[in-house]
């Protein structure tokens, strides 16, 4: 009897699978039809998908474009694995016409390897030269003068302070390292975590780099992060010493070296910690109740630093609109779509509905994402010093080892000399 039942069950399962397959085969399941290619369809491969901020806006604007123009647009998507999928597609000659992806790691080589075309000539021809921030154009231009892609989203990386918790501890928003150490002490006295950070992942790496940049000129910072030679830079050594002093003074939450960016956000959002250094896209995820008691500022100034004001990481290194070799053959389809993406209407939708920071010139701010708007205003003012996001300078192979090295730096008991050793080893061994 049991055998009969099992056989029947297997037949049922097989029948269900076959029914589903036949449904898809005869076209009844519309969603399973492959995206159309061909010369009349624009194929767009993007990272605007899944749970990424702006994914729903991107879907909507593509649909608006389809409806208003009657043109065909096929959308393909990947997350962080987009670069490898795009590269294999290029090898097979089946890459999308446009890809919307970050400029980091693998993508840095695309223009030189002819996987994508340089777009500096198209910039003026398509009327986009005045639509994109000059700083973004500069950051996206290669050493030999080629614009890799049209910069689209950007990154702004201020510090969030919970004023209610600071007030509870009897301190104000810290502007100097001494203020910060005193604030950390007072916060700990009230059982509140001071600076929360994902010491074990990229967020810790970025804060570490931000802190030591207080002691580096822009040129020295570029040299240090490109070469990984920290021990020969007086500024880098002073910055690392200062980082260790802050850590030993208890500025960071306990066990910071074991946390991630997600635990950082949670500690801040639940009021367990009062301060965090955060990307603007993460600031968009701070709940309204916590946002109402948050003020945005920069990282406090250390004594004897090159920076004279609190620092904020600013970068135009977000997603860009790249044109592939296939796309170069369909510029008549690519141009109107790219111009649509940079239109006031679309840029405004990304800002107001998803809280994205954009590289397009705009004066639109979002009321639904007040912390992002505060961060934009801070970056545009003169109360903070911008420091670089060295992702373009750090060799791709070093990224992961460098994160492991900075995780060690967040661990108690790791002296400045040891930190220098592990940082340099991460470059040498990569």
């Amino acid at each position: 009897m049991s055998e009969l039942l099992s056989r029947r069950s297997l037949l049922t399962a097989g029948g269900a699978a076959a029914a589903l397959m036949s449904l898809s085969g005869c076209g009844a399941v519309q969603a399973l039809r492959p995206a159309a290619g061909g010369k009349n369809t624009l194929v767009v491969h993007s990272q605007f998908n899944g749970a990424v901020a702006g994914a729903d806006v991107f879907r909507a604007v593509v649909e608006q474009y389809r409806t208003s123009t009657g043109r065909q647009v096929a959308t393909l998507s990947n997350g962080s694995d987009l670069p490898i999928v795009f590269e294999t597609s290029v090898l097979a000659g089946k890459e999308a016409d446009i890809t919307i992806v970050n400029m980091v790691g693998k993508t840095l080589a695309w223009t030189a390897e002819d996987a994508t075309i340089p777009v500096e000539n198209l910039l003026a021809e398509w009327g986009l030269a005045d639509r994109i921030e000059p700083g973004a154009i500069q950051e996206w231009t290669t050493g030999d003068g080629h614009l890799r892609a049209f910069p689209y989203t950007r990154t702004n990386w201020p510090v969030a302070f919970n004023t209610r918790l600071l007030e509870q501890a009897g301190v104000e928003v810290p502007l100097t390292s001494q203020d910060l150490i005193e604030a950390a002490d007072a916060l700990r006295g009230k059982g509140i975590g001071p600076v929360t950070i994902g010491g074990g992942d990229w967020s810790g790496q970025k804060l570490f780099i931000q802190i030591i940049q207080s002691f580096l000129t822009a040129d020295e910072a570029e040299r240090v992060f490109a070469t990984g030679v920290f021990s020969e830079s007086p500024g880098a050594l002073a910055g690392i010493q200062h980082f260790a002093d802050l850590r030993d003074a208890g500025v960071f939450v306990d066990s910071a070296q074991g946390f991630t960016s997600d635990s950082m956000l949670t500690q801040y959002n639940t009021g367990q910690a009062a301060i965090m250094s955060s990307m603007s896209s993460a600031l968009a995820k701070v709940p309204a109740e916590r946002a109402a008691e948050t003020t945005i500022g920069g990282w406090p100034v250390p004594p004897g630093a090159v920076s004279t004001k609190p620092t904020v990481i600013q970068s135009f290194n977000g997603m860009g609109v790249w044109i592939s070799e296939n796309g170069a053959g369909k510029l008549d389809l690519v141009e109107p779509f790219v111009r649509w993406l940079f239109s006031d209407e679309v840029v405004s939708q990304f800002i107001t509905r998803s809280g994205r920071d954009m590289s397009a010139v705009t004066d639109v701010t979002s009321t639904d994402f007040p912390l992002v708007a505060q961060a934009q205003a801070l970056a545009a003012g003169d109360t903070v010093d911008p420091v670089i996001l060295p992702d373009l300078l750090i060799p791709e192979a070093v990224f992961e080892p460098l994160t492991q090295a900075t995780a060690q730096a967040f661990g108690p008991g790791t002296g400045p000399d040891q930190i220098v050793d592990v940082l340099e080893a991460s470059y040498k061994n990569a």
Binding site: S2, E3, S6, R7, S9, L10, A13, G14, A17, A18, L20, M21, S24, V29, A31, L32, R33, P34, A35, H45, N49, G50, A51, V52, A55, D56, A74, T75, L76, S77, N78, G79, S80, D81, L82, I84, V85, F86, T88, S89, L91, A92, G93, K94, A96, W202, S261, D262, S263, L265, T266, Q267, N269, T270, M279, S281, A282, K285
Partner: protein, 272 residues
Amino acid sequence: MRFPRISGILAWGYALLLVIPFYYLVISSFKQNDDIFTHPLNLPSTWDPGNYGEAIGSADLVPAVANSVIVTGLALLLTLLLAVPAAFALSRSTGRAGRVVEATFSLGFLIPTFAALFPTFLLAAFTGLFHTRTFLVFLLPATAMPLAVVILTQFMRTIPRELEEAASMDGASTLTILRHVHLPICVPGIATVVLLCFLSFWNEYLYSLIIIGPDPAQRTIQVALPTLQLTTGTDYGVLMAGTVFTLIPVFAVYALTQRQMQRALVSGAVKG
């Protein structure tokens, strides 16, 4: 008497260890990040299925599950169509050639997944099947044949030759013997192969990512699910909901086949 009691406690403790992660996965799928991190093992305050709607909608999980079912189902069917006759022939073979062929199948275990990736990519591009589900339907059985043939061959060897001879004397052809004598007896072995291959095909990521590509209408669940994970602020409730959603077919197949698989294991123990 003490030993059975201690072993019983240990067994229940071990079972609890296996259940806790599943419990954590399910309850987290109804929570927000703050609740997951601050009260990881507490029940959710409300059983709001909103995370499921968010996961299914933003990662296009319905077509992704359908694609996984299509690819896995067809690949399983092809695996059985190829492996069962091969195993039948090898189990009945007494010559040297049979041993060489069987050993050749076993050599398939030695090929690392990564080593085969680039040649496979070239093959897909050459055949014009790059960025299609079809190529994967043909590829996956090739990767599963060593395991399927080895298991089924050993299973079929346990079937007495007298049954086959009696059927032959009644005029049964080779195909009839396979269909009416071997297959009914081999159902536990086939269920074992189906379960193992199903898990392998369903969970396959690398080849699905590269070969099927970025089209949401074609990609499988293992490629769609990671789009819910972000470098800045993953919503773990949504990610857990997506994971639970994609596990449902796995549990369904396991429930259908596990009894036959247990029977296969037990029959092996008795025969041994």
